[in-house]
């Protein structure tokens, strides 16, 4: 088995591109990643494309940039789609079957609204048997944690204050403005305790990554810019009593994180930064614990003390997270690897985590799965 390296990576600025197609957005990210690695489409031996709402986008991307006949597979895994595409590409290289693999994630979501889609039944059950909206689902997950550890509305809201602040330093984030605590708490209440400013933003976006075997990295002389994938882990929801009436966003994350730490042979304390799945502000605090960044019930202190802010003990979502960067579902799990890569290469500008050598990226796909990647400066 070969070590696998990231040698090229790109994320387009997330935003609204109503006049473009997923293939066009994905192609832009792929070309950026190829340029970053210094290779062309002719060097790519296999590709995986993550997209939830459209089919055959991988092929459509190569129809834009060069149809070379390589194997391309399209993957869909809810909000873990992009990370799952990366993991497929990682496996293709790791086994030794391919030396250069590409993963791309893309989504066009302008106009889809932030709530998710209503389930169809003979009569609508939303508001009759509780809510299946995403803000309410994650509010309930947060309330579960709050019931155990006394987390306050304000503590959840501080996640948005922190991540939005981080995004003021990220030109590729869609929301780049400071949101003081009162502004977050007084924003329109969507599903208590999630206000509008505590919900991630549906945008269009794409991100792509070039993976190479160690042999190929050395052959092309790219080791000085390469990033080693120390772990790629995917887990699905184990049986749990309340799931799926109350989707279990914790267990799959805990399993994926444990597998990733074991694969990398490291502990959470060895990390310099984390990009985790803050689809709603309530989710971020739960994942501090799920990813072993803190002990049971310590997430409240983590957010209060600034431990997870830029400059803190373990900065979380210095990109601004999904709360500010936006959350184009298929692209999200590749985009967080882009953020880690910037920091590990020392190219993150004013939000740079100084001396970053090891980072963790995490996503959760409701339904439910979780993917965790650990990257290290080579």
């Amino acid at each position: 088995m070969s070590d696998v390296y990231i040698t090229g990576i790109e994320m387009i600025a997330f935003g609204r591109y109503p006049h473009r197609t997923p293939a066009s957005l994905g192609a832009e990210a792929v070309l950026g990643a190829l340029d970053d690695a210094g290779i062309t489409v002719h060097d790519v031996q296999t590709a995986y494309c993550g997209c939830v709402f459209q089919t055959m986008v991988g092929q459509k991307i190569f129809q834009q940039i060069g149809q070379t006949g390589i194997p391309i597979a399209n993957v869909s895994n809810a909000c873990a789609t992009g990370a799952t595409a990366v993991r497929e590409a990682w496996m293709a290289v790791r086994t030794g079957d391919y030396d250069i693999a590409l993963a791309v994630g893309v989504e066009q979501m302008t106009g889809m609204g932030m709530l998710g889609a209503a389930r169809q039944a003979s009569i609508p059950i939303e508001g009759l048997m509780g809510s299946t909206s995403m803000p309410a689902t994650f509010a309930e997950a947060g309330r579960e944690y709050a019931a155990k550890y006394g987390t306050s509305f304000a503590q959840f809201a501080k996640v948005s204050v922190k991540n939005h602040h981080h995004a003021t330093m990220n030109p590729k984030a869609v929301l780049r403005k400071e949101t003081p605590l009162e502004m977050v708490m007084e924003a329109e209440m969507i599903a208590y305790p999630n206000t509008k400013l505590m919900c991630s933003i549906n945008v269009d976006g794409a991100a792509a990554v070039v993976l190479m075997s160690e042999k190929k990295v050395r052959e092309l002389g790219l080791m000085d810019r390469a990033i080693r994938i120390r772990a790629s882990a995917l887990a699905s929801d184990p049986w749990q009593q309340r799931n799926p009436q109350m989707p279990d966003i914790n267990s799959a994350t805990q399993i994926a994180a444990q597998r990733a730490y074991e694969m990398a042979g490291i502990e959470a304390k060895d990390l310099d930064l984390v990009e985790l799945h803050d689809c709603f502000a309530t989710a971020e605090l739960l994942h501090y614990e799920n990813l072993q960044l803190c002990g049971a019930g310590e997430a409240n202190d983590m957010i209060d003390s600034g431990a997870t802010a830029l400059g803190g003990r373990i900065p979380v979502n210095v990109s601004g997270g999904l709360l500010s960067k936006g959350h184009p579902i298929g692209a999200t799990g590749v985009a967080n690897l882009y953020e880690l890569s910037l920091h590990l290469r020392g190219q993150a500008g004013e939000r740079q985590v100084e001396g970053a050598r090891m980072g963790l990226a995490h996503v959760v796909g409701l339904g439910t799965c979780s993917a965790v990647h650990i990257l290290e400066k080579a």
């Binding site: 709530l115 003979s122 009569i123 309330r143 599903a191 208590y192 305790p193 049986w239």
Partner: protein, 144 residues
């Protein structure tokens, strides 16, 4: 839409049964490990993988609130506010539903309150054929 006599209401979920004097709940219970499920049919148990089959199980009509959200904005056309609640049923599975009879104020909601499970018309909702439905709801057990 004409003078057709109103047909009797239908259950809003497959685990609600209207075959007796009062609506009742019935869940699948794994013959092997006892885990309960909401759907009417399964091939195997999600917890233990057993294919030995399931018994019908009627739980108690009380439970404990596990988590909730006060929903102020939902899918277009959905009346708000309402409280979306997850309840662990005594001797039953966990169930999602509307919690009613409590204020829309987190400071005045006991997050671990005991509730009863009641049945009522599905908020006046009708299907395309005009049928009415019966749904379950949660209410606080303690008199206020």
């Amino acid at each position: 839409m004409t003078d057709t006599p109103a047909s009797p209401p239908l259950p809003a979920a497959s685990y609600i049964h209207l075959d007796g004097p009062e609506p009742r709940l019935s869940f699948l219970k794994c013959k092997s490990c006892g885990t309960m499920f909401l759907e009417p049919e399964r091939l195997a148990c999600a917890r233990c993988g057993s294919r030995e089959g399931f018994d019908a199980h009627e739980p108690k009509y009380e439970g404990t609130l596990h988590s909730y959200s006060i929903v102020h904005r939902s899918f277009p056309g959905t009346a708000v506010p309402f409280i979306s609640a997850v309840v662990d049923i005594d001797d039953g599975p966990s169930l999602k539903g509307n919690l009613r009879g409590v204020p829309f104020d987190a400071d005045r909601i006991d997050g671990a309150m005991r509730v009863r499970i009641v049945f009522d018309d599905a908020l006046g909702r009708r299907d395309a054929d005009g049928n009415a439905y019966i749904s379950h709801f949660f209410e606080p057990l303690a008199a206020d």
